[in-house]
Symmetry: C2
Subunit: 421 residues, 2 copies
Amino acid sequence: MNGEDVRMRGFRTRASLADAQAAAWGDVVLPHLLLPADEVGLSAACGRLLAEAVASDVDVPAFRRSAMDGYAVRAEDTFGASLYDTVRLAISGESMPGAETLPRVGAKQCARIMTGAPLPEGADAVLPAEHAKEDGGAVLAEESVTPGKNVGQVGEDVRRGDSLLAAGRRLRPQDVGLLASIGRGSVRVARRPRVRIVATGDELLAPGERPRGHRIVDSNTPMLRALAERDGAAIESELRLRDDEAAIRAALAAPGADVILTSGATSVGREDRIPLLVAELGSLLVHGVTMRPASPAGVGRIGAARVFLLPGNPVSCLAAYDLLAGPAIRVLAGSSPALPYAARDLPLACRIVSQIGRTDYVRVTIADGKVSPLATSGASILSSTTRADGFVIVPEGSEGVAEGSVVRVHLFHDDVRSALP
Amino acid sequence: MNGEDVRMRGFRTRASLADAQAAAWGDVVLPHLLLPADEVGLSAACGRLLAEAVASDVDVPAFRRSAMDGYAVRAEDTFGASLYDTVRLAISGESMPGAETLPRVGAKQCARIMTGAPLPEGADAVLPAEHAKEDGGAVLAEESVTPGKNVGQVGEDVRRGDSLLAAGRRLRPQDVGLLASIGRGSVRVARRPRVRIVATGDELLAPGERPRGHRIVDSNTPMLRALAERDGAAIESELRLRDDEAAIRAALAAPGADVILTSGATSVGREDRIPLLVAELGSLLVHGVTMRPASPAGVGRIGAARVFLLPGNPVSCLAAYDLLAGPAIRVLAGSSPALPYAARDLPLACRIVSQIGRTDYVRVTIADGKVSPLATSGASILSSTTRADGFVIVPEGSEGVAEGSVVRVHLFHDDVRSALP
């Protein structure tokens, strides 16, 4: 792709969606090794990709501990004890969790002990409180226990030297707990892919402004931010630029982003300079994709950054994000490129028309368990995507799908209970 | 439940898990109405529950706009135009996106126009650039267009007065874009449930400290934080307290939390004061649940706060969170109480033993597409939950599950591809 100028001429050829997707993330492997590591505190670690192999340099616990509330005993002293033939053990003291000094348990003695407390020297088992009665300064054991019973041994949870968590693992809540338990307060995780959003157009007002005159509010930037954050990105910056070549060039050329999402200026309009600038600053791998909407979408590279040229029309922007940029961001974040929407297979209430050689992203609604394409097909109608329950992909080999056929709906929301029969 | 003192005696009765769950969240309805609203900026709105009905007070677009890059024309002037019989239209000027002043398009005239730009007065259609050639100061139309063709009418996306988003909706990326497009910079959303974590025990060190002597690091607090945040909570505070009745009472009584998660001091140990304190300060609805692990778990209320008494053993803490506290937090956050783990139905490689009348939370691994319970059953072995691929719930009506039976595994992680056949 040499950055052919399509402005006011039109595309001569377009890439297939599969080729565009291959250009977008086909070369990404082992993301946790590709992106340098951040050191994060435990409260921010859950859900992140571990960038180190974690082993323990301590035993957990580092001492023998009681697994029950009750009495630390010498097991042999309890042999033969029952509810009807109790054994009397003198209380020599108590062991509470965290205790620094401990009683000794001699023959026919015991010590009160709570769950998690260190086992006193001399004791080798714990008699649960439910099977003992205190009687003056002594305990009547109503059950026998075997040596080691209800005692957690040194290292029973984690042994010093154990390999605990492999590099590349996505950290779970319990992993964070385990890290704390071995004395870690922070951990190295793969950096989130840094995403820069560059929206261009003299007509754009900043979000929060009220539309006025011939200007509209930039709705793509807040949508793209939410999509990219959902997919594991950190937003490096958001730039909203006028149709000013120098400003756009500078925004594309600046280092610091793993992914650049541009919005607008990628079609055949006179001000649509982004494809040419990407070709000038790096390489334009794909411009024009056989998909609908979003056929002017493109994929390129500038330095280490992957650049996605997303159309300015908001529905096209969403479709090109979902099918090109989103999978790349998810792969860079260590996730699957698969669509992150819940899916349902449901029959069509009426046919969907498409074309051989074109992939369609069809907004649909679900009613009574059946799927209908939205009548509003315009790529500029953002509200169509908020009315839709989801979308159906009609692949390029298909010229449409007949009424009654079962299609896979990618749901924009989790809750379609009300829309199901 | 009157706060019977079970310390050093044991539970006389326990509630069924179903009863405990009913006490935990059975009364919660319409969460976005229950929790007061926060006003949040658009960049923080995605995924939140809308606490207002959003209607538009503007038309989007507020002007007729071009849907294509090309030429604004009077459609009737193009009638009959074809590649072999072009129609010549004089260029009267141009309309760029955001333009404040526009040319007029008279008979046999046209104006250059870009996608999104306002349609000049006199024009009623847009001839795409691909079907026109510029020739000096004129354009040769190679195709005819009908009136309205490639023109977006006023309000085509959103009409002033349209109801757009209903209260209670979970905001999607495109909803955030739509809010921006109608001039909103912030939106009212239901407050996240505020969760206070209160871990007690003289033996606990703060996360980040290295375990030493007879003390262990509090692993439950970081795990509970991650779990609660996953489920939509905001952490109101984290308190790590010694076994000091006055301090624990103050931590439970302080206003400001929707949910209080206590960790530890809920069993039959001498220092296990939390059930009595909950009964004193509010009501202890359940103490002791017929489940394993986590049988000492409890549910109560203090003022408006729901209190979950989670055992200090980390596996019990996780199980009681997953089956009691987590669903309640998710319901308060407007989600389903259902377990938030991906699930797979897979056959058992060996039997799971349980008891009639007890619900078991069984940590399992998956190998070659078959499920095995972890041999390590201790509730104190946190590392068992990091080695496990997920868990299986054996309901109280069952005394176990036979080898080869298909069980539902709730996966601790998304990626079991390597463990599947």
